[in-house]
Structure formats: structure tokens, C-alpha cells
Subunit: 460 residues, 2 copies
């Protein structure tokens, strides 16, 4: 008997987390070279958890584990491994093991794996597939990356509209190679265009003699194979779809997308937006130091330019600051508040664009709202910070300048926070990617300029 | 004949977006008081799109539309309306219409709606439900908000293990009140504990005489009713589940959660994290000016405190700045770079905590990586900014001070960016909520202090 590894589901803090003890046990088995024990330990774990484990151990431990595990590695584990880590994992596993593991997967998972492979390995894996699967995978690969065509699986169940429920059920009983999970029978016309679908639960509940055409649901959505995966995820989420037929340009059925793949994409896209907003690329915890450094460099470089620009603005007022050093002390407050207010608006806007809640129909109303919000919060914080200025430096005029600059910058922050992402979206640039730098440049420059120029005019 | 409204699915920029023309047509019908035309126009739209439309028009237009639409409003539309807008919508629709609309919903959707209602309206809606539904809804409401118990639906199909496939199919054919969509028959023991499940696709493919116990899948996950909805969404995404039985403390089957609800939660939680990271609360585009201003105020207030703290640090060096005003010009660069680097690390960390990729098993490795990344990017930017300082002000020593402060602040940024969220997570505070303020406080204070104190020591 060996210990059974079980993930905690009750403890809300640690639910579904692989605990350190379990990892310890597994790494001990690896160190001892005890392959049977290792396999016993990994056996009760879900492929996704094994993949997480591979991501959490060090590169050296990962190599040792994969070497010992050897040909017991299953394709589903490879599928679950983070994309950033796949190249490393593929390198450490013999080619025969990879090809054998991939053969067992459904075509959509194969596509997902081979699109990340190096040319020669991709060729070898494709050659090892069964003919029908290879054709299907190659066809999927012809669609651009991140489209419905790459996401779909080719395994599906279809039937003509004149079949009866009984006929359909008998067909499925006789068919050895059904998809692992399917929820609908797709009804297609002779040109292979989907004209309806029958949920399995409906099929189940109807007498055998019922004709499919009479019970098929004609109110369904097809997904064009060229549609972006982001839109696919949106459609599944918006319309609570469980699966949807994918069609080519002629409207012919070429595959099916199921909600679990759409959920994956939704998660990926949200992660991407969060990271882009913070100026982090497609990095993950498994990236090494050099990759991480390189990934973060561009955003910091953009920010350096931005802040040098702000410094150039400040430099114009060097004599003003020399005359009143309190300005140097207080000026970061105005800029920082503007940056934060701008980021707030920006984030709401980017998110609303992603969820298609911000459209030309309500854009003007939202822009107006942002300006008024900026004005209102600006006034409140102007009073507070004006008070701070007066108390700290005993100068009501300094307080007034601070307050005026604050109101102005928060209004500008609101405007920049909404207009910049809308503008970028219009010209086809992902607003999550580039907005932050623009918005903080604006709020920094305006913040420093407004405060220092007002000070130069009013105080000196 | 009336125009058919169709959403664009091909144009990738505007796919699934309600276009302004369609909204125009609908608002024209409302203005004309032409109820039949309005109903014709809305009829082809999905409930989720109608809800989006309600969110995108002004409050006044919304009121007029709802008044004209009257009792044709369906429960599914109410379900789709943004939570922030529901109270307003409920107010504008007669109570009878609300109760009638709600009666048609599945119990999980009813729970979702009534949990947002005011006491008296909640009571009236609950009273109008059929007895069985009311009991089910009330039981769900007894679980804390945002738990599996609130998310689950009570409608499910279960069978004892000794039934045959034929028996199960006949039972479903005879049952008038099957759930709208279901994918599995749950197999329960006499104490109502789930012991297996049979996918409809499996049921379909097996001969009628097959006993369910022989084909049931025993490898499935149950969700405790008390589990947080965040963990539920995680489990669905991690394990590619399509539906999962929910059990009470005694392990008895009390409901079922389907993947579309889990997908909803995943989307919600990602949205919440994005917004919290930017210091925006649970606001939406439909909030009015006052709600939005109030929502954004706390974060700006925290930021004001933070920046005043940074100003206090600067004030300590007033005489240094007076002696060399270039310091005032350059100091925001160091602080700003630290803030950005800290936010990068912070965002990756918050996300890794949410996806359970950062655990005690790899925390030290990740912390070490962040410090090294900070050091490496710090050195590169130290060279650049040092060069800028030399060229701009012709002072190699000033360049050296800038560079040293930059290296120091980027290392501190990396450390703060990972230690703050880990620490907050440990003591049970959502790291997405509070980390940003802490991290930028640290990088501001350290940035200004390092630069100005080095300058005071080396340059003066």
C-alpha cells in the first residue's frame, strides 16, 4: 500500500492546492529512483494537477521526474502543461514517448500541442498520428493561430434531419469511435451545412419513432472558423452555450467547440488583460530569470521615456523650484493622484471594451460621466490637499495652487483614461497593451505642468 | 414585415456587439410608443443582448422601454441584467410582471435574482413560486453568498445503481419536468450520496439491459455546498468538468452546478481582480456619477496618504534640493520606475496566487527570481539613466547616484511586489485589493529616500 494523495477541497484557503508534503513525497520517490512508487503516487492525481506539480518544482527536479516517469507519461498531462514550459518538457522526453502520448488525444488537444513544437518534432508527431487524425489536425493548423479553427475538435456526431430518434440511438450504439463527451447531435443538410441540433437530453426523452427534424432546435449559433478565440469565448459566456458548430466560409460544418475549451480561452484572455495592464507580457512563474527580465524590460523602458518626459517638464521650472523648494516636495502628490485616477478609469474602460459593454451607443454618456467623476473627486481632494498645503507650509496661496492643479489633473485623468483606450481600440491596437503608458504620461506631464506653472504665476 | 436584428459575427472588431443602428431602431419604436414593433424588434435578440441593450441606453430611455415592453419581459432577461442595474429595473416593472417572469426560471437563476431584491419584494416573489421551487430556493439562500450552495440548481436527474439503461431512458421519457439541459445521470446510494455518474452519451451508446452500476463513472468530483464560488470556478477550469454534484455536510446530494455557471463566476472573479488591482470597486458602466465617484474615492484617499508620506520623505531633504535643484527634476524617475517594476511583480504574483500556481513549494524560488530580475533590470536602467544624468547635467557623480538609487529601488520593488501579496494572502486579505497601495508606498518612499540620501552624502 502506498499513501493516497488527495487534494483538500474543504479548506477554503488551500482548496485544490497541491500541498508541500505531497510534492515532498513525490520528489523523494524521484530521488530514490523508485519508479513504481512514483507512478503509484502520481496515479490518483488529475493530469492538470500533475502538470501544476511539474510547474512548481525546479527545472532540475522536473528533469529527473520526467526521466524516471518515462513512457508512463500521458498525453493529457502534456496538454495541461503551461505553454511556456512545453518546449523544455518536450526536450526531456524521448520522441517515441511524445508521439505515443499524443496519439491518444482528441484532435483539438493535438493541435494545441503541436502548434508549440519545433518543426522536425511537429513533423514526427504528425506522421505518427492515424491518417484521419493527421488530416484533421493539418486542416486545423491551416487556420490562423487563436481562431475558432484552431480551437475546434473534429470529432462530432451528426445526422440527417430525416433520421428518427431510434435510428440515431442505434447509430451511436454501433459506432465505436464516438467523441469522449458530446452533448448534441448536429443535424446537417446534404451540403453539410448545420440546420439544427438535438440535445442528448431531448433525444433521450422522445419516443424512438420521432423524426429528428421535428425535435431539432433551430435556434443555435454557428461559429465561423476564422473567428478570433476571444470572440468565441465571449459568445459562449454571453449566450450560455455548451457547444457550438464551427463552419467554414461556405457554411459547411468543419468541427465543434465545447464550453470547456471556451472557458480555457476566457481564462487566458482575462489573464492576458490583467498582465498587459500591468505591463507584463506572456510570462509565467516557470519562466527563468533571463526570460522574465527580458519580458519586463520593454514596459520599464517605455516608462523610463515617460518619466524622463515628465522630468523635462519639471526642468522648465527649475528656477521656480529653486525659489520655493516646497514645490518639489508637493509636486509628486498631484502627479501621483492623477496617475491613479487615470488608471482607475482606464481599467474600467479596457474591461468594458473587452466585454463589449462600451459601444458607440453609450460612449458619450460614459465620457461625460468620467469627466464629472474627475471633477467631483478632484474638488474633494483639492480641499483636502489644499488644507494639507496650508497647514504644512502655512501658505493659503500654496494650498490654492495645489487644489487647482489637483482638480485639473483629475479631470484630465478621467478624460485620458477613457479616450486613450477608445482611440487605441478604434485603430486596432489592444487597449490593454498600450493605454497605461499613454495615460500616465498625460497625467504626469499635466500634473507637474499644472502645479508648477500655476505656482510660477500665482506664488512668485 | 419588420427588420430582423442580427448581430455581426464575422467582423472581428464588432463581433457580437449591438450596433448603434439597432439601438436607434429600438429607441425609435419606444419613442413612438409602438409596442408591437418593439416586441418584434426585440424578439430575435438573445436575452443577454437585450440586457446589454438595457445597460447601454440612458436611465430615462430604459424606463420608457421597460414601461412599453410591460408584461412581455421574460425572466431570462432579468437574469442577464447587470447586478448593479437590477434594483432600478425591478423598481420600474410592476411586481406581478416580476413574479410571473421569475416563475419560469430554474432555481439557480431564481436564487441569483432574489438575493439582490429588497426584503418585501423578495417575499412576494418567493410566495409566487411553486411550492417545490420555493423550498429549493429558500434552502439555497441558507448558504452564504458566493458559495456553491447559492450557485447550484436543484433540478437534476438521479437514479439508483441497480437500474438498467432501458429503465433510465424510459424514466426520462415519462418525466415531464426534466431540467432544460443536463449531461449526466447521477447515481446515488440509498442515503442519497452520489456514488457515480453516467454521461448521456454513454447511456445512449449502451444496450438497454446494461446495469447503470456497470457503466457508471466513479471518478468524479463532488463540490461541498459551502465551497467558495471562486474555488468552484477553479475546479471546473482545472479539471475540465462539465457538471458536478453538490453535497451537503453529510455528503448527500443537494444540487448540481453546470459549467456555464462556473464560467460566469470565472469571468466575474477575473473582472474583480482586474478592477481591485486598479483600485476600482464593484462598479460598472451603468453606475451613476455619484456611485462612481464614491466607489473610486477610497483608493484615491489611500493614494493621497501614500503620496503625502512620500512628500514627507522628500521634505527631509529640502536643503539638499535647494542646493541642487536637478535632484527635484530627476527624483520622480527613480520613484516611477520602482512603482512600475513593483506593479509588474505584484500583478504576476496576485494572478499566480489566484490560479494556485504560487504555493509554499515554489515561493522561495520565485522570490529569489524576482530579486534577481530586479537586480538585472536595475543594472540596465541604472546605466541608461546614469548616462542621461551625465549628459543632461554633465555630472558623472549625479549619474552614479541616479544609477545606484535605480538598482536599489528595482530590487526593493521586486521584493515588495512578491512579499506584500503573499503576506496579505497569508493573513486572509485578498491580495488584489490591498497590495497596490502598499507596494507603491514602499517604492515611492525607498525611491525618493535612496536617491536623495545618496545625493546628500555623495554630491554635497
Amino acid at each position: 500500500m502506498t499513501e493516497q494523495l488527495q487534494l483538500d477541497t474543504e479548506n477554503s484557503d488551500r482548496a485544490y492546492e497541491i500541498d508541500a508534503d505531497a510534492i515532498e513525497l513525490i520528489l523523494d520517490a524521484v530521488e530514490d529512483g523508485d519508479r513504481d512508487h512514483l507512478i503509484d503516487l502520481l496515479d490518483p492525481l488529475h493530469a492538470a494537477d500533475i502538470a501544476d506539480l511539474l510547474e512548481q518544482v525546479s527545472s532540475k527536479e522536473r528533469g529527473a521526474l520526467l526521466a524516471l516517469w518515462g513512457d508512463a507519461i500521458e498525453g493529457v498531462v502534456l496538454s495541461e502543461v503551461d505553454e511556456g514550459l512545453r518546449a523544455e518538457v518536450f526536450e526531456q522526453i524521448p520522441d517515441e514517448v511524445v508521439t505515443e502520448a499524443v496519439r491518444a488525444l482528441e484532435t483539438d488537444d493535438v493541435v494545441d500541442l503541436v502548434e508549440d513544437m519545433e518543426g522536425p518534432q511537429q513533423v514526427r508527431v504528425l506522421e505518427a498520428l492515424e491518417d484521419a487524425d493527421r488530416v484533421a489536425v493539418k486542416q486545423s493548423l491551416q487556420y490562423p493561430q487563436d481562431t475558432a479553427g484552431r480551437l475546434m475538435q473534429r470529432e462530432l456526431v451528426m445526422a440527417p434531419p430525416d433520421w428518427t430518434v431510434g435510428h440515431a440511438i442505434d447509430y451511436m450504439r454501433g459506432e465505436a469511435d464516438l467523441p469522449e463527451n458530446f452533448y448534441n447531435v448536429l443535424i446537417v443538410d446534404p451540403r453539410l451545412q448545420p440546420i439544427g441540433k438535438v440535445a442528448l437530453s431531448t433525444l433521450m426523452a422522445k419516443p424512438r419513432a420521432t423524426v429528428l427534424a421535428d425535435i431539432m432546435d433551430e435556434d443555435f449559433r454557428v461559429i465561423p472558423a476564422s473567428q478570433s478565440q476571444e470572440d468565441v469565448a465571449y459568445a459562449f459566456n454571453q449566450y450560455h452555450m455548451v457547444s457550438a458548430p464551427v463552419v467554414d466560409q461556405e457554411g459547411r460544418l468543419v468541427g465543434i467547440i465545447t464550453i470547456d475549451d471556451a472557458m480555457d480561452v476566457l481564462d487566458e484572455e482575462a489573464e492576458q488583460d490583467i498582465k498587459l495592464l500591468a505591463g507584463v507580457g506572456d510570462e509565467s512563474l516557470t519562466d527563468n530569470v533571463f526570460d522574465t527580465t527580458r519580458q519586463r524590460f520593454p514596459w520599464l523602458a517605455v516608462n523610463l521615456l515617460t518619466s524622463v518626459l515628465a522630468s523635462v517638464v519639471i526642468a522648465q521650472f527649475s528656477s521656480t523650484i529653486e525659489a520655493l523648494v516646497a514645490l518639489a516636495v508637493l509636486m509628486p502628490i498631484v502627479a501621483s493622484m492623477g496617475g491613479n485616477a487615470g488608471t482607475q478609469t482606464l481599467t474600467v474602460t479596457v474591461r468594458a471594451l473587452a466585454t463589449k459593454d462600451l459601444t458607440p451607443a453609450n460612449a458619450w454618456r460614459v465620457i461625460r460621466r468620467e469627466v464629472i467623476v474627475g471633477l467631483m473627486n478632484g474638488c474633494v481632494f483639492a480641499l483636502i490637499i489644499g488644507g494639507v498645503g496650508i497647514v504644512w507650509y502655512g501658505s493659503p496661496m500654496l494650498g490654492l495652487v495645489l487644489g487647482m492643479a489637483m482638480v485639473g489633473n483629475l479631470i484630465v485623468a478621467g478624460l485620458a483614461g477613457i479616450l486613450v483606450p477608445i482611440g487605441l481600440d478604434k485603430i486596432g491596437i489592444d487597449p490593454a497593451l498600450a493605454s497605461g503608458a499613454f495615460v500616465t504620461t498625460v497625467t504626469d506631464v499635466v500634473g507637474f505642468f499644472a502645479f508648477l506653472s500655476l505656482a510660477a504665476t500665482i506664488l512668485l
